[in-house]
Symmetry: C2
Subunit: 308 residues, 2 copies
């Protein structure tokens, strides 16, 4: 799957991923109205609204991008119906041949991590039958529990040719509270990064590992260091746009080959119509605004990479 | 909810929680047979099996215990039907007046943590209607992202009078890989413990905070230190029984008042019939074996607390 991701990035010329994080405040009124008329102001109604919203954005952007990253929390908040919408979104993205990164940030002790891995990137045995719960291509994983919390994901990924991105340095303001603390003179995130590189060695694709890392666009200097610590790991970079990251901040996340990073934008793309810059599209044509925002984001990163 | 937990512990004399982590290998054959006949060897069949299994264990133990802790990964691996079984289990435990600790180990950047908090301990607005996704009383939270990943859970808990347990020192063998690393001469888990105490101050119950901690039974010496670092935090202690923890290891997790800790056992209770000690009950009477294992666990901890 890492090879497919690399191929699709080369083909589209777009090292970006669209974050499908459908908060209700992003969903245009006409969609909410239609969904609530059909299913009521219920969890089912909310799920219908986010599914309709997602589908239109996917339809208008899938040919430009290699991958999407649905944030499962935004679906989980609508309970079972929300998770059904998550699954429909994942399946629909696969129909469009997109790589799907499930942003689930799971992580637990060994047997429990194995169950999460099974749930999202694996298969589960029921009697004599193999079944599938969810079906992402990559998932994000929290490293706090150490190797035996991560290894079960790697084991399932080996089997299924799927991959993970491990949280190393997150994009949020207080990420430094623990992640930046110095251990033997170097911050915790560097130690985690070293482990990512080590874990990744056991599961290599053609040029990059199936084991990647998450490093926030909001911390470009740390991205520069971590790029060197994990040369064979793809870096998933959240925090572009709404969280403050810009194209020029991102160049150090990439290797010399122009690969090695994939930059996520969520609200900057999916709620572009709410941004003054794209307001001319109007709420009715929200997905056209998203398409234009994708075009602009690709150009911004391309320009930054050319100027480095 | 922390007050209810304390009350129920006093009333039952049982500072324990039964981990409802229904792995398929624990479910007796006669239950699997019935479930698969009804729903096939499908995710629905698996979900039916774990629900039937849970229900019988709850029916046979609820009067002895204050709380249960379903591990959501064990349900999530069966996809949507598995999560429906999770929800049914939570609701059924509430019917039996049990406190429900959702072991979900979520944690993300602010807006996403807010969505997780909404999903599991809060309410979500759909149009003009407030809806509810899942409905636990407490959830477990991963601290790797720092304060702004934790605060949204606390905010929702304030509103709903619910609580959280934050991972401090986990029970697994490689938990020390990052958690034990020294920062300014003290291990990371102590720094996290200090934050737990600080976060907990803003949300106090009568005698304990709504913000608790997870510290593994497998690390009793660290439990001793952390008990002092977080005097007002309840400690959820996994790792008793199958993972190696024993009653005598646990006394330091408790305060002088005999409170402040709640010890989890999962497979030691729910799969007791598979243990030689309880084999006489047989698979047909697996829930009677679970009840006996609960009685024995309460006695073991009670004895240890008396002997300290």
């Amino acid at each position: 799957m890492i090879n497919k991701l690399v191929d699709k990035i080369k083909k589209t010329g777009a090292p970006i991923v669209v974050g499908l994080d459908p908060m209700m405040k992003f969903v245009p009124e006409h969609i909410k109205k239609a969904a609530f008329e059909a299913k009521g102001e219920t969890l089912e109604g909310a799920a219908e609204a986010i599914w309709m919203y997602n589908k239109e954005i996917i339809d208008k952007t899938y040919d430009l991008i290699p991958a999407v990253k649905p944030q499962i929390a935004m679906y989980e908040q609508f309970g079972i119906p929300g998770l059904v919408a998550f699954q429909k979104t994942v399946d629909y993205c696969h129909e469009k041949d997109l790589v799907v990164i499930g942003d689930i940030k799971r992580g637990d002790i060994g047997s429990t991590s194995a169950a999460y891995a099974t749930a999202h990137v694996g298969k589960v045995q029921v009697g004599n039958t193999m079944c599938q719960g969810f079906n992402e291509d990559f998932v994000t994983v929290n490293p706090y529990l150490g190797t035996d919390g991560v290894q079960p994901f790697i084991d399932v990924c080996k089997e299924e040719k799927k991959g993970i991105f491990i949280l190393v340095k997150t994009s949020n303001p207080s990420s430094g509270e623990f992640q930046d603390r110095l251990i033997d003179g170097r911050p915790l995130y560097e130690h985690v990064g070293e482990k990512v590189a080590e874990w990744g060695e056991q599961l290599m694709g053609d040029s990059y590992s199936y084991v990647g890392a998450v490093v926030g666009a909001t911390y470009p200097e740390m991205g520069k260091v971590l790029r060197k610590v994990m040369p064979k790991s793809f870096i998933l970079v959240p925090g572009y746009g709404a969280q403050g990251g810009q194209g020029k901040d991102l160049v150090h996340f990439f290797n010399e080959d122009g690969l090695g990073a994939i930059v996520n934008s969520s609200r900057g793309i999916i709620a572009a119509y709410q941004n003054e810059k794209y307001a001319k599209f109007g709420a009715e044509h929200f997905a056209d605004a998203s398409r234009q925002a994708v075009v602009d984001m690709i150009a911004d990163i391309d320009q930054a990479l050319k100027n480095r």
